[in-house]
Symmetry: C2
Subunit: 414 residues, 2 copies
Amino acid sequence: MSKKNTLSTESYKGVRDFYPEDQALLNYIIATWRTTAERWGFVEYHASILEPSELYKAKGADNEEIISEQTYTFEDRGGREVTLRPEMTPTVARMVAQRRRELGYPLRWYSIPNCFRYERPQRGRLREFWQFNADIFGSRSSASDAEIIAFAAALMRAFGATEGDFEIRIGSRTHLDEICQELGFDDAKKKALLALLDRKNKMPVADFARAAGDLGVPLSLLEGGKVPKEVAEALSFLEGLGVSNARYDPTIVRGFTYYTGIVFEIFDTHPDNNRAVMGGGRYDNLTELFGGDPLPGIGFAVSDEVMRIFMDVRGLIPQYLPPTKVYVAVAEESLAGEALQLANELRSAGIATAVDYGERKLGDQIKIASKHRIPFVIVVGQNEITSGTFSIKNLDTGEEVSYERSRLADFFNA
Amino acid sequence: MSKKNTLSTESYKGVRDFYPEDQALLNYIIATWRTTAERWGFVEYHASILEPSELYKAKGADNEEIISEQTYTFEDRGGREVTLRPEMTPTVARMVAQRRRELGYPLRWYSIPNCFRYERPQRGRLREFWQFNADIFGSRSSASDAEIIAFAAALMRAFGATEGDFEIRIGSRTHLDEICQELGFDDAKKKALLALLDRKNKMPVADFARAAGDLGVPLSLLEGGKVPKEVAEALSFLEGLGVSNARYDPTIVRGFTYYTGIVFEIFDTHPDNNRAVMGGGRYDNLTELFGGDPLPGIGFAVSDEVMRIFMDVRGLIPQYLPPTKVYVAVAEESLAGEALQLANELRSAGIATAVDYGERKLGDQIKIASKHRIPFVIVVGQNEITSGTFSIKNLDTGEEVSYERSRLADFFNA
């Protein structure tokens, strides 16, 4: 082992290390996603991050560009081309197609995968991120469109957001198809229009108008028109559910080519965070790639990092507290065995307990407990062991209370 | 989108799809790891699966073989060599080294990463697996050796294992160092002995004896001898903690070169599963690679798949139940909006509720609820809406009870 060349302690570019405070926040985000999804009747599935690259190539020509430029794709030692999943939809389509006849519909599934994209790291875009995905398979009803949108709104509220904090913008791919038909667009021109609309909010109005003109699309076609039937129906159901911050927005199209019906985005209304937090839509043909009849689906996704930014601009990030409730310190190293035993008694009673081995001075041990933000300390010394009475010290207030050994847990369980 | 060539629904070789029942079991395993670790005062950290390949190469020559043959290692689009982590220890050493002065010691950390190894898939060995890791940094005390072993034993019991179900075998790298010194072994011969001992339980006794003879190691040296001091101390602390199924085993060495003190394995005693379930040891030099003084550490790991096999051979796998408590079925499609509203009322009261949109017959909707193992069904029809009284049907017993709309949640919360 060479000690001459020291290794860097930096993580790989564009990914994150999760120290306990970071991990506690990620766990809070994941637990909130999970609890809310299960409340709404969704059940969890999962898959490996490794997928055969064909899964992404098959989706259409525009995705080949993503595969070749924006994914982690490599050949394994057995000559298989493998991709670290950039999103979950192709995987869930594959899994549903595999057990298509065994699964009952409507099927309500959610997942919390980590996903990977090779791109320049920037605010809200990292090379590895966690992404909540929820989908309903086997329904063509606008009620399922409305329910998935209402669920997305409930997910926002579960993080402490109020209706004024976000706006639900609903577009329709059928509307886009009609425009393209009216203009006699071929697939290439349709894709160019889709790409332009998807970038609309990231470019100056004049640039957008010029690009639309270059494509031969009158702005009036994009911005006006009557509300498509499926959007009107979804809005009506949403009204019945008390969701009042949703509206039709013909410019919402979403980047992926696989959408076939409504598409939607949940926009942050905060001036410092002008972005879509969540987004999704209806895709009624996705399982066709695997053979068999098409199975309708509707779903959406949100990433941990975009969720964190939303919480951050509003002060909704909860304060970090460690899971540990008490630190057992020890007056001298020879009593380490006694400290271990006392710690185990507390653990048996359900109290999250850390313990010191007495290699450092008692004062330093208490400083460590404080540094780790553990709220209480119990010191094990010869007097305490002999008397059978221990003090529980509150590190915030300095207050101490004495308990008999057999009753220590009562203090924490009270 | 071509419909001619249908895609395979198979996952990538050697990894798993997690359908809801599989995911529920993985979640149970992860939740049991997490709850027990936090009870023992450990806090969670995490990192990306992507690591610079140097992190693994630096550990020693034998690991270069692992890097070149058993990992997923590739060059990213920016020319960086990157590896999907095969284990967590190098990552945690990197993270601790990075914030070395800010962290307080002893530091008790755990993590539940997914890890990747390119190897022939077999029972208990997959290309992607979840692995629980727990480490204590900053203590050289045998009390910390004993505590990490006692914690590993508690983790076994948390899954329903009793002491007779497993045996804790403790070896020592210092003992191995002494043998090598006595025999005048160089590093290459030491590595060969380490590799041989690590394979001992997987080969016939005669083959092991022959190989030891070829290396010039008398069997008496390996199997006899007095108990090393650090093992004797750990065993004494363990006795004080009531852990009686631990013993000294000089043949336990563990495969990784980085161990420097005690090493241990928890063996399954079931005749159908003769394998180590958990394993770990002391490594007092790991952070040296990143510069600065050595920081002592001790830790262990266990994978989800080996844990699952342990549970399986003993019938300890819990029965699957979905999180969803009630299915709201709807008598006709025109009432879908009413069904959505009723479902939301139940969710607001904390009841995990799925809902149907009425595209299938009522009987089929109830069959779907049953197929998803949802225990209760509420039917929304015009009569129910008018009367304000709904029946809750138990799908197991067929029993029905009637409740006023505003009191439906009371049934589930009772």
